[in-house]
C-alpha cells in the first residue's frame, strides 16, 4: 500500500518541492496541495496518512509569521484538523509550518479546548535572519518523528529564519514540557554539550535551547531547522572535505521515522 503525505502549499511557502522530494526519498507518495483546495473540501485531509506544513513565508508573513495561514485553517478546517491530529496521524511543521502550528494552538498542546496560542516564536535575539547549520540533540523518546535518531547522537540541520526564538506563555514551564517528552530537539554545541543559550549554537535565543517540540501524544512535531535541506550527504557543508558519509544526511531520518510510524501504527 502506498503511503500518501499531503504537503500543504500556501501563497509564499517555498520549501514544498524539497519536502516532497525528501518524502519520495523515503518511499512516500508526496502530494503538494494548495491550502484553498483543502479549505474548499476539494481535497479531503483524511485521504492522506500524514500532513506536512512546509517552510517559507506563507501569506507574506503578514501580521506575523504563520498567523494568516493559521487563521485560514482555523476558520474552516479546525475541527477536521483536530480530529486528524487526535486520530494519531502525523503532522510535521517545518520552520514557517512550525510557526503556523504554534499560532493554530495545536502545539504545544493538542488536547485542550482553548485554541489561543500558548507559545510564540519571537524575533531572534541577534535581530538577524539566521541561516546556518546547527547541531541538535534529541530529547524525546515519545515523539514518533525521531525513531531513527538516537538520543546520544548530534544530528545536523540548517536553520533559516528570523523569528525562531521559542517562548512559552505565562504559567507554562519548559521543565514541564521536557518532563512530558515534548522537548524533541535542543540546540547543542558540535560535541553535544548544551548550548546554554550561547550564540551561534543557539541561533535565536530560544528558551532552554528549544529547536523543536511535539504535542502530548508525540504525533505532531514542529521544528525550526529544515530536515528537508539535509536529506542527502552531499547537502552537508563539509561534504567535499570529509567524504565519510553514507548517502543520507540527518534530516532524512525524520521523514524515515514518519513513514515507518505510518506503516506500523496508522494504516
Amino acid at each position: 500500500m502506498v503511503i500518501r503525505i499531503l504537503i500543504l502549499r500556501a501563497p509564499g511557502t517555498n520549501c514544498d518541492e524539497e519536502t516532497a522530494r525528501a518524502l519520495r526519498e523515503v518511499g512516500a507518495e508526496a502530494c503538494i496541495v494548495h491550502t484553498n483546495k483543502l479549505l474548499s473540501n476539494e481535497v479531503d485531509l483524511f485521504s492522506y496518512h500524514g500532513l506536512v506544513l512546509p517552510g517559507g513565508f506563507s501569506y507574506g508573513d503578514r501580521v506575523r509569521a504563520g498567523a494568516i495561514w493559521a487563521s485560514k485553517l482555523k476558520s474552516r478546517l479546525m475541527e477536521k484538523l483536530m480530529e486528524y491530529a487526535l486520530n494519531g496521524n502525523p503532522i510535521l511543521g517545518i520552520c514557517n509550518g512550525f510557526q503556523a502550528l504554534i499560532e493554530l494552538g495545536v502545539l504545544p498542546f493538542t488536547r485542550r479546548t482553548d485554541l489561543n496560542p500558548k507559545a510564540a516564536l519571537a524575533p531572534n535575539i541577534s535581530s538577524k535572519f539566521e541561516a546556518r547549520w546547527v547541531y541538535l540533540k534529541c530529547h524525546s523518546n515519545t515523539c514518533i518523528f525521531t525513531r531513527y535518531i538516537d538520543v546520544n547522537e548530534v544530528p545536523r540541520m540548517p536553520v533559516a529564519h528570523s523569528e525562531g526564538r521559542f517562548i512559552l506563555g505565562e504559567g507554562l514551564s519548559g521543565e514541564e514540557l521536557s518532563k512530558r517528552g515534548q522537548v524533541v530537539f535542543k540546540y547543542v554545541k558540535a560535541n553535544g554539550a548544551p548550548a546554554n543559550s550561547e550564540y551561534p549554537f543557539n541561533p535565536n535565543g530560544s528558551m532552554f535551547d528549544i529547536a523543536g517540540i511535539c504535542n502530548e501524544d508525540g504525533n505532531v512535531l514542529g521544528l525550526m531547522p529544515h530536515p528537508e535541506r539535509a536529506v542527502y550527504d552531499w547537502q552537508l557543508p563539509d561534504y567535499t572535505s570529509v567524504r565519510r558519509y553514507s548517502g543520507h544526511a540527518d534530516g532524512w531520518r525524520i521523514f524515515k521515522s514518519m513513514i515507518e510510524y505510518i506503516e506500523e501504527e496508522i494504516r
Binding site: R64, A67, S71, N116, P117, A120, S127, L168, G169
Partner: protein
Amino acid sequence: MASKMLSFKVRVEVWLKEGLVDAEGKTVEEALNDLGYRVSSSRVGKVYEFVIKAGDEEEAKRLVNEMCTRLLANPVKDKFIYEVKKIGVQ
C-alpha cells in the same frame, strides 16, 4: 435583535513586549543615528485601522479584544492597545 447597528472606527496598536528584541526598531534607530540624530529606545509597532459594526461600544470593544487575541497579536509575545470611536448609525 432588531436594534440598529452602530459603526465604530477602530485603531489597534500591536507592539512586541518589553524584553523581546525589536530588530526593526534597532535598525531604524541605527539609521537615524547615521543621519546625525541622537535617537535611542526606538521601537516599531503595527497600527491597524478599520470600521466595525456593533450594537454598542461595549460590544465593539469586546469584539476588537477578541480579534487581537485571535489574530492581530499573539499575547505570548505581543502587547496591544486599541480605541473605538462611534462614527455613525446604520
